[in-house]
Amino acid sequence: MWPWVLQRVTGILILGLIGLHFWVTHYAVPSVTFGGVVDRLRLPIWFHFDLALLAVILYHALNGVRTVVLDFNIGRRKAVFLDWGLVAFGVALLAFGSWALLPFRH
C-alpha cells in the first residue's frame, strides 16, 4: 500500500524537480562546465536540491525495479533479499552521489 502511494507521490514530485534541474543545467547556462556547477552550488540550497533530487529519484527508481522484479513471482525469501539489496544499493549510490558533489564545494 505505502510503496504504491509513495511511487505516485515521488513520481509527481520528480516531474517538477527534474524539469527545474534540466532548466538550470541546460538552459540557464550555455553548457555544463566544472566552473558553472561551482557557481550554482555556491548557494547551499542548490547543493541540497541536488541531494534531495537524487534521494527522491533513487526511491522511485529502486521501488520501480522492485515492482518489476516482484511481478516475476520470485518467492518470499528472495523478495526479502531483494528488498535489503535495493536499500543497500540506494544508500550506497546516495553516498557516492554526495561524494561526487563535494569537489564543487571547495
Binding site: I12, S31, V65, V68, F72, L93, W99, A100
Partner: protein
C-alpha cells in the same frame, strides 16, 4: 522467467490495446532510466578527478553520437513521465472510461516536449558537423 516473457508477449499479441503497450513500455523505460541514473552519477563523479577531466568529459559528451542518445533519453523521460500522469489519473477511477483520451492527450503533450528538446539539441549536432 522465460515463460513469463513468452506469456506476456502472447498477451500483447492477443489484445492489441494501447494500454497494454503503455504498461510494457512504462516498465522498459523505467528500468532503462534507472540504469541511466547510475551512469549519470558516475559521470558527475569525475569531478573527483579534477576540473580538467570533468570539463573534458562534459565536452566529449557533446559529440553528435551522444547528443542523439540525449534525444533517446528525452523521449524515454517524457514517455515515462506523461504515461505516469495518465496512470495516476486512471487510478483515480473517474478517468477509467477516458483512458484512451488520456493516452492521446499525453501523446500530444509529449510530441511538443520532444520537439522542443530536439529544437534545442539540433543546432549543437549541426554545429558540430560544420
Amino acid at each position: 522467467m522465460i515463460t513469463f516473457i513468452r506469456k506476456s508477449l502472447e498477451e500483447i499479441g492477443r489484445n492489441q490495446r494501447v494500454g497494454m503497450w503503455a504498461w510494457v513500455m512504462q516498465r522498459i523505460t523505467g528500468v532503462l532510466l534507472a540504469l541511466y541514473l547510475i551512469l549519470h552519477v558516475i559521470v558527475i563523479s569525475t569531478s573527483q578527478q579534477g576540473t580538467a577531466t570533468f570539463d573534458w568529459l562534459a565536452s566529449s559528451l557533446q559529440s553528435p553520437g551522444w547528443l542523439l542518445l540525449d534525444v533517446a533519453l528525452l523521449i524515454g523521460v517524457v514517455f515515462h513521465g506523461l504515461n505516469g500522469i495518465r496512470i495516476i489519473a486512471v487510478d483515480f477511477g473517474a478517468m477509467a472510461r477516458a483512458q484512451k483520451a488520456w493516452l492521446y492527450a499525453m501523446a500530444a503533450v509529449g510530441l511538443v516536449l520532444v520537439a522542443a528538446g530536439i529544437w534545442g539539441i539540433l543546432p549543437k549536432i549541426v554545429g558540430h558537423a560544420l
